[in-house]
Amino acid sequence: MDVGQMQKRLLDYMNSLLKEGILDSQFAQLQQLQDESNPDFVAEVVNLFFTDSENLINDLSNALGQQNVDFKKVDSCVHQLKGSSASIGAQRLKNTCISFRKFCDEQNLQACLMCLQEMQQEYLLLRSKLDVLLQVEKQIVAAGGSIPIMEF
């Protein structure tokens, strides 16, 4: 596959992620911040996001498993994840957080547990998609090409 083909593949892939609502335009903004002086910016942000999110989801799981659930703590974790999701452009994950917070407000444990499950699924899906995306970007750069800019 030559660089041009790889670039097209990347753009098609990004478009599909946008259509599915998995990522939004914020992610494209982040890609535009990457340049020769910071060639790994997107990968660094994404990896930080993965670490952060996994910790938060673990904390949530623990918090919801307690005898007396501390909904304030749960809400605080979800708030953090919502902020990170929005910053990276993870639209569906962010929306899951929004629903989650409503159930925290209502102190509805069952609904929170369901949200947590949905959150875990959305996170895993996002993670696998971003891994592919970063992989293709790496290949393009290694072949001497540049990451194409998404237009909105």
Binding site: Q26, Q29, L30, Q32, L33, D35, N38, F41, E44, V45, L48, F49, D52, H79, Q80, K82, G83, S84, A86, S87, I88, G89
Partner: protein
């Protein structure tokens, strides 16, 4: 690279979210704005008490220890007159008003983008 007499503006990022600090810092870097970040309102106050000054403060609203509303009020009471922009997840309504009334010069909905930052930078008082 030297001998450039033009003074570049400086900025302070106040946000409890590590990812946001990283992204906002990078946005500022790209625009050539020297910047540093702190994690909450109290640290923002401490940095100013130690004598540092900035041309622009990007203030998150919801933070532990001291939130953006309190921090903005305190900074204004301390006589800090630079541009303070509130960055929050609420777009309209009482939350925004409360934050503006604390002493903000401008307000943007998260997440911050190059365009929003450019509009802030263009308004920096010299």
């Amino acid at each position: 690279m030297g001998g450039n007499a033009m003074v570049k503006p400086t900025a302070l990022v106040v946000d409890d979210n590590k990812l946001n600090r990283m992204i906002h810092g990078k946005l500022l870097d790209v625009l050539g704005i020297k910047n540093r970040a702190v994690e909450n309102g109290e640290e923002a106050i401490e940095v100013h008490l130690s004598g540092e000054k900035f041309d622009l403060i990007l203030m998150d609203r919801d933070m532990p220890v001291m939130n953006g509303i309190e921090a903005t009020k305190k900074l204004r009471a301390m006589g800090i007159k630079c541009m303070i922009a509130g960055i929050s997840s609420h777009s309209i309504g009482p939350e925004k008003e409360e934050f503006m009334e604390a002493g903000l010069d401008d307000y943007h909905e998260k997440p911050l983008t190059v365009a929003k930052l450019l509009s802030l930078v263009s308004k920096i008082k010299n």
